[in-house]
């Protein structure tokens, strides 16, 4: 199957010589939710901006919904909706008008029923006759999403959609993204909130210094790179580590009440049983045990800071 979005060997060097993207290639399938992670200045926004026509690429090729973004820019752009990171709205316009304007701009005939649906889905219906300037920051963000959805795009870009947005709106937005995906829309989002990627994405790409250093299924990434931790809360404090355990990746907490065993979630599963047996043989008693998996955030920090 042809990918919905295909980026091939894309590079961008700005006039000041800064190389924002280095030979990035990426395919995204229809109906996928793809999260692009990376620190500030890594190239996430440049990548999105090139695909959406805001920045000229230095080299490489991009197709959206099968159309080349430069040669066949009309068809490609008709398929794309963009919610940029910055809150840029026409302050003096009314909500209904500004959203209808976007639909027209993208070459679609007026369709009040669709605009109404979009506004209702985003809880903007009551505000339709308000001027954009009178809305709160979170509401303005919704207006920008409504504008991007006004022309029924097949591919939706959300550049930091929940930056500076309260918890309730963030949950609403996740819900909306899921509904969109169910209707067949492909979604590419960039985020700083790892929680967001973990919650929603099917696949994750990590970008660092303009290079796409990793693209992986979320679950594969978690299991491949995730660390697990087993904590044993001891009945009586242990003064020092028994020599039988010295060759294992085990730490003793300062107060001597906890044994912490770290292992890779894929391998070394068997070692847990062995460890517990050894402890039994040594007569070490424990009150409680906990395991925890490292979050995507920890994986991400590990990746980005690893040189």
């Amino acid at each position: 199957m042809q990918p919905e979005l295909s980026v091939q060997n894309l590079s961008k060097t700005y006039d000041d010589g800064f190389q924002a993207l280095k030979n990035v290639s990426l395919d995204i399938d229809k109906g996928e939710i793809f999260a692009l992670l990376g620190p500030n200045g890594a190239g996430k926004t440049t990548l999105i901006s090139i695909i959406c026509g805001l920045v000229n690429p230095s080299s490489g090729r991009v197709t959206a919904a099968g159309h080349d973004i430069q040669r066949d820019f009309r068809a490609a752009r008709e398929a794309i909706g963009l919610v940029p990171q910055e809150l840029s709205t026409d302050s003096f316009e009314k909500v209904w008008k500004t959203v209808s304007f976007s639909r027209g701009l993208f070459g679609k005939p007026p369709n009040p029923a669709h605009i109404e649906k979009v506004l209702r889905d985003l809880s903007l219906w009551d505000k339709r006759n308000n001027r954009v300037m009178s809305l709160s920051g979170g509401m303005k963000r919704r207006v920008m999403i409504a504008k991007a959805l006004s022309h029924e795009p097949d591919i939706l870009f959300l550049d930091e959609p929940t930056a500076g947005v309260d918890v309730e709106l963030r949950r609403d937005m996740w819900e909306m993204v899921r509904k969109l995906r169910e209707s067949g829309v492909t979604i590419i989002l960039t985020t700083h909130y790892i929680e967001e990627a973990e919650e929603m994405a099917d696949r994750i790409g990590v970008i660092r210094n303009g290079e796409l250093i990793l693209v992986e299924d979320k679950s594969t990434l978690m299991s491949k790179l995730g660390r697990k931790e087993l904590r044993l809360h001891l009945h009586t404090p242990m003064e020092k580590m028994p020599p039988e355990l010295a060759d294992q990746p085990i730490e003793l907490s300062d107060d001597g009440y906890e044994l912490i065993y770290t292992f890779n979630s894929q391998q070394e599963q068997a070692n847990v049983a062995l460890l517990l047996r050894t402890l039994g043989e040594l007569g070490v008693e424990y009150r409680d045990l906990q395991t925890r998996e490292s979050s995507l955030e920890e994986i991400f920090v590990g990746l980005v800071h690893h040189d």
Partner: protein
């Protein structure tokens, strides 16, 4: 052709005019009325006729041109500068509209506003002086052609400007002097010979002269040359705009 897209921009820009009706319409009408009162009625009553036309009537074409040029430039430059300034330009750049459609939207709306204003001022002039329009078709053609040309020029300024000062500097520092020295208030025959020659390098002379011919059938310069000069300037602006969009100058990094 994305007609809906061009129309969306056009309607958006026109609604900006209705929203700011006072600034858009009232202020140029008031300032032009003042010119009519001072130069047309007060000073004009002491002036002799020029080319057989009363002084009050003689200055009408020049005063309309003054407003037309200033308004075309300021409307169009503001129209494209504001979205650049506020960041909302992202939507136009990411939309399936070609640069021709973008120009039709922004420049078309700015030119429409200027033509409407020109006609309002023409009607206002009726309150102060008596005049006739000998070639109404040509009068309208000059009005539209000049409005389009200078809106295009304003559009270029709006893209070039990287601050509000630059947005105002061209109309204020260049266009106003050119209009005042372009024969709005006098016939260039009234100037010493050396100044007559220098004046011929002022493009506004051709606009006012042609426009005045459409009113009264008299002109300093042959009307064909006037039309030629406007078309030349229009072509220059179009070449510049197409270069801007081809290179993404100040629009796309």
């Amino acid at each position: 052709m994305n007609l809906y897209g061009a129309l969306a921009i056009y309607k958006f820009e026109m609604s900006r005019m209705w929203r700011t009706l006072m600034q858009s319409v009232a202020s140029p009408v008031i300032s032009t009325s003042l010119y009519f009162v001072v130069f047309g009625s007060a000073i004009g009553s002491r002036m002799g006729d020029i080319d057989g036309i009363s002084y009050g009537a003689y200055i009408i074409p020049g005063l309309i041109m003054l407003t037309l040029l200033m308004q075309s430039i300021s409307n169009a430059s503001f129209g494209i500068y504001m979205p650049r300034f506020s960041g909302t330009i992202y939507e136009v750049l990411s939309a399936p509209v070609s640069y021709v459609e973008v120009v039709i939207g922004y420049v078309g709306a700015a030119a429409t506003k200027s033509v409407i204003l020109g006609l309002i001022i023409l009607a206002t002039a009726r309150l102060f002086v008596d005049y006739s329009v000998l070639h109404p078709f040509w009068m309208l053609s000059f009005l539209v052609l000049t409005a389009v040309t200078f809106s295009l020029f304003g559009f270029i300024i709006g893209i070039w400007a990287d601050g509000f000062e630059k947005l105002q500097i061209v109309p204020l520092m260049i266009v106003t002097p050119l209009v005042f020295l372009g024969g709005t208030f006098y016939s260039i025959d009234m100037l010493p010979e050396i100044w007559q020659t220098i004046t011929l390098f002022n493009p506004v002379v051709y606009l006012i002269s042609g426009f005045r011919w459409a009113f009264y059938g008299v002109s300093d310069i042959h009307v064909g040359i006037s039309v030629g000069m406007i078309v030349l300037f229009l072509t220059l602006c179009m070449v510049l705009v197409s270069w801007i969009f081809r290179t993404g100058y100040r629009l796309k990094p």
